[in-house]
């Protein structure tokens, strides 16, 4: 019985933290907001760390989830403007298949950057010649303009008996002429999101991950989304923890009524409530990581609890951080709004609290009736 991290895991977390404290300060993040292009430096740093491809299937369970949540937590703490979880979960998907070794190497070496289309709609491929012609929409594609490849789940007509069975995970070339992008005006400017339109994209069999239709793609994408939800939850833990600690530091300096405001019980109790939310979200994420690695039956439930709880907790904590800092907390110049916006975006995507709670209800409520 050990609920914690071993020395090696702690070392990895610390090295990512140190790296981001140096190369991803809020000044760097604000530069990115002005000019939203992922720097080569950032790609190089993650390649050097060598951990992007750490998530792998391992028998009934998984390997690398513990490392992955620790890295994601640091990404959240630093407001990292880089598609970390898209590359981690994308590599996981590619590694379930033998025919993408070259791409896997390139992504791990920082030579190629992946993203994932989280919400495809009416993306349908029809047979054409030896391959397929793919048209439709891919919504919610982070960093699409910078990515080299897009991992997406699309339907291949006739590859199954239901639309769901037809789903097939494919890798698309972002630079193809058949692809047009539109950047959404997102309020979280640390994580740009694009809509991608596909118009007769020439899809080859070699673009397919794992297998065509027969429910294979659906199952794979569900797993990718689940891992994405957990990593996003962990990012939210990192963001809210930083917002809390930065705010607590501020209350030890800011004076009103002749004393530092940190002496006021009204603020202390807010901070204690925030701490409770952060620690609880953290425990939920850590437990879910363990459940996935151990291949526990309750892993799905645990991930949904982690995402649901972190979504509510991080919005509340980052909002209260603004409140505790008062007028200055409401300014553009102060960093708190960056955390608040990132938390809100993360809470809303990959299943919001409502959606995950509804999944949980099937076990918690319907399961006993």
């Amino acid at each position: 019985m050990f609920f914690g991290f071993n020395e090696e895991e702690k070392m990895v977390q610390k090295s990512v933290k140190d790296m981001l404290e140096k190369h991803c300060t809020t000044e760097h993040v604000r530069q990115f907001m002005e000019n939203p292009v992922v720097s080569d430096k950032m790609k190089e740093l993650f390649a050097q760390q060598g951990l992007l491809g750490i998530l792998e299937q391992d028998g009934e369970g998984m390997a690398g989830v513990t490392y992955a949540i620790l890295i994601a937590q640091e990404a959240g703490r630093a407001l990292l403007p880089y598609p970390l979880l898209e590359n981690m979960t994308g590599l996981y998907a590619l590694k379930t298949c033998k025919q993408h070794n070259r791409l896997i190497e390139d992504v791990e070496a920082g030579k190629s950057m992946l993203t994932v289309a989280w919400r495809p709609e009416n993306a349908l491929a029809r047979k054409e010649g030896g391959g397929y012609s793919l048209s439709g929409m891919l919504y919610e594609v982070p960093f699409a303009a910078d990515a080299d490849k897009i991992l997406a789940s699309v339907r291949i007509a006739g590859a199954g008996n239901t639309p769901q069975e037809e789903e097939t995970v494919v890798v698309l070339n972002r630079s193809s002429d058949a692809l047009t992008m539109h950047k959404r005006d997102g309020f979280d400017e640390t994580y740009p999101i694009y809509d991608v339109a596909l118009n007769n994209y020439p899809l080859q069999k070699s673009d397919v991950v794992q297998g065509i239709g027969m429910g294979i793609g659906h199952q794979l994408m569900e797993k990718v989304k689940q891992l994405g939800a957990l990593l996003l939850a962990s990012e939210m833990v990192g963001s809210s923890e930083r917002a809390l600690y930065d705010t607590v530091a501020y209350t030890k300096e800011r004076k009103q009524f002749g004393v530092v405001i940190g002496t006021f019980q009204a603020l202390k109790h807010m901070a204690a409530d925030m701490y409770l939310l952060v620690e609880s979200a953290k425990s939920a994420v850590e437990y879910a990581a363990w459940a996935l690695e151990a291949g526990e039956d309750e892993a799905d439930l645990a991930v949904s609890i982690a995402k649901s709880y972190s979504s509510k907790a991080s919005k509340k904590v980052t909002a209260d951080a603004i409140q505790m800092q008062g007028g200055i907390g409401f300014t553009w110049e102060n960093d708190m709004h960056l955390f608040f916006k990132r938390a809100t975006r993360s809470a809303s995507l990959l299943g919001d609290a409502y959606e995950h709670n509804e999944k949980i209800a099937k076990v918690a409520i319907d399961g006993v009736n």
Binding site: H269, A272, Y275, L276, I365
Partner: protein, 395 residues
């Protein structure tokens, strides 16, 4: 990270379960169970359970064998608590002795004290109560005014304690009293062991808002006890008491969690019977589904916190101020569970006992949960501890 139990531990779990199934008094926990009206009979019933536990080898599971314990680890202790929780086994009457005094004596007691007090405590022969709070010393415990003065070979104790659970059943009381009125308030306190049958001890019952009468006022009027009945040294009582409160806040988490999960499951079943105002079954109503699941999530997270605490206890051998987090978390959650239960019951909420559709169970959660946010360091005190000792905010 490894949150699994070893095959040996699973074997132990099986043994506990089998023993409990055989020994839990018939009908216990069901509406048919007839709980004696008389307070003394209730006490006798619970003492009998404590005696059974001892004979079965489930008292003082992690305490050393030389003091009547089983010499196992906290993990076996937790396994017992979990299984007892699942089967809703009685908690016995020596809760405070086992949870607070025992660990305190193991840490601060002299060899004679451990030998004298621990075995009868575990055998269910000597029931303990806790004399900490006073009318003018609640959250500000160090302001306590009960005095103890040395007179020859005896301490003479004068003062009043309040909210003293089980005092009407107890044989002994562990009492905080001021031994140096001139010292700063935290420095002049000592931790005493007082027989409840001493001349000058008076117990007056208090009825709680849930109609239970678990706690009392206790008056000490020139109560004389032997000089050696001090734990951890004269004027060192504050330190000893703080250790005690740490136990109170940290352990038992998983057993309690399982009991809350049982309560939740009962509530979820009720949701499958009751109808919401729009005519839908409560369990199918989106508002209630979300409302209930958020409590379910909290109960699961309570388990994660519990596992973390245990891991800390096993691997580092101590509990830190993080125990405050746990207490704050579960007490808030339990209040929320009670409130949700009243919503689920709707127009059937305001009736309790056998006249209630839940046989009073949900009303019991609703009212009883209001005590836990106050005792053992109120919610507000826990928030002070978290903000000052963990977050380092200035006093």
């Amino acid at each position: 990270m490894d949150l699994s139990f070893t095959p040996e531990q699973e074997q132990y779990r099986k043994r506990v379960r089998e023993w409990l199934l055989e020994n839990i008094p018939e009908g216990w926990g069901t509406p048919q169970f007839e709980w004696p009206e008389d307070e003394q009979e209730r006490g006798a019933f619970l003492r009998e359970w404590d005696r059974k536990l001892y004979e079965g080898g489930f008292a003082g599971i992690s305490w050393p064998k030389e003091y009547g314990g089983q010499g196992l680890t906290h993990v076996e202790e937790i396994i017992y608590d979990e299984e007892a929780g699942k089967l809703n086994a009685p908690s016995g009457i020596n809760v405070l002795g086992k949870l607070l005094l025992g660990p305190t004596l193991l840490l601060y007691g002299t060899e004679e004290q451990k030998k004298r007090f621990l075995p009868p405590l575990l055998r269910g022969e000597e029931v303990w109560c806790q004399g900490f709070s006073e009318p003018n010393a609640g959250s500000d415990l160090a302001a306590l005014q009960t005095r103890a003065e040395l007179n020859g070979d005896e301490w003479v104790i004068n003062g009043q304690k309040v909210w003293t659970s089980y005092a009407h059943h107890a044989d002994w009381c562990f009492v905080l009293a001021r031994t140096d009125p001139d010292a700063p308030k935290h420095k002049g306190i000592s931790f005493f062991l007082v027989p409840m049958d001493s001349e000058g001890v008076t117990v007056r019952p208090l009825v709680q808002l849930n109609k239970n009468r678990d706690f009392n006022e206790v008056f000490f009027d020139n109560v004389r006890i032997p000089k050696d009945n001090v734990v951890g040294g004269v004027n060192n009582g504050w330190k000893v008491a703080m250790g005690t409160l740490g136990f109170e806040r940290g352990t038992l988490a998983l057993g309690r969690q399982v009991r809350f999960q049982n309560e939740f499951n009962e509530l979820a079943k009720l949701a499958g019977e009751m109808r919401a105002a729009d005519g839908t079954l409560v369990k199918d109503n989106p508002y209630f589904r979300q409302r209930l699941v958020e409590i379910f999530n909290d109960i699961r997270i309570m388990r994660y916190h519990g596992l973390k605490t245990i891991s800390q206890l096993l691997n580092e051998g101590r509990l830190g101020p993080e125990a405050s987090l746990q207490k704050l978390f579960w007490t808030t959650m339990h209040v929320n569970l009670g409130e949700a239960a009243m919503e689920v019951l709707g127009a059937e909420a305001p009736y309790w006992g056998t006249d209630s559709v839940s046989r009073g169970k949900m009303q019991d959660v609703y009212f009883t949960s209001r005590g836990a946010t106050i005792y053992a360091g109120s919610t507000q005190i826990q928030k002070n501890i978290i903000s000052e000792r963990i977050l380092g905010m200035p006093r």
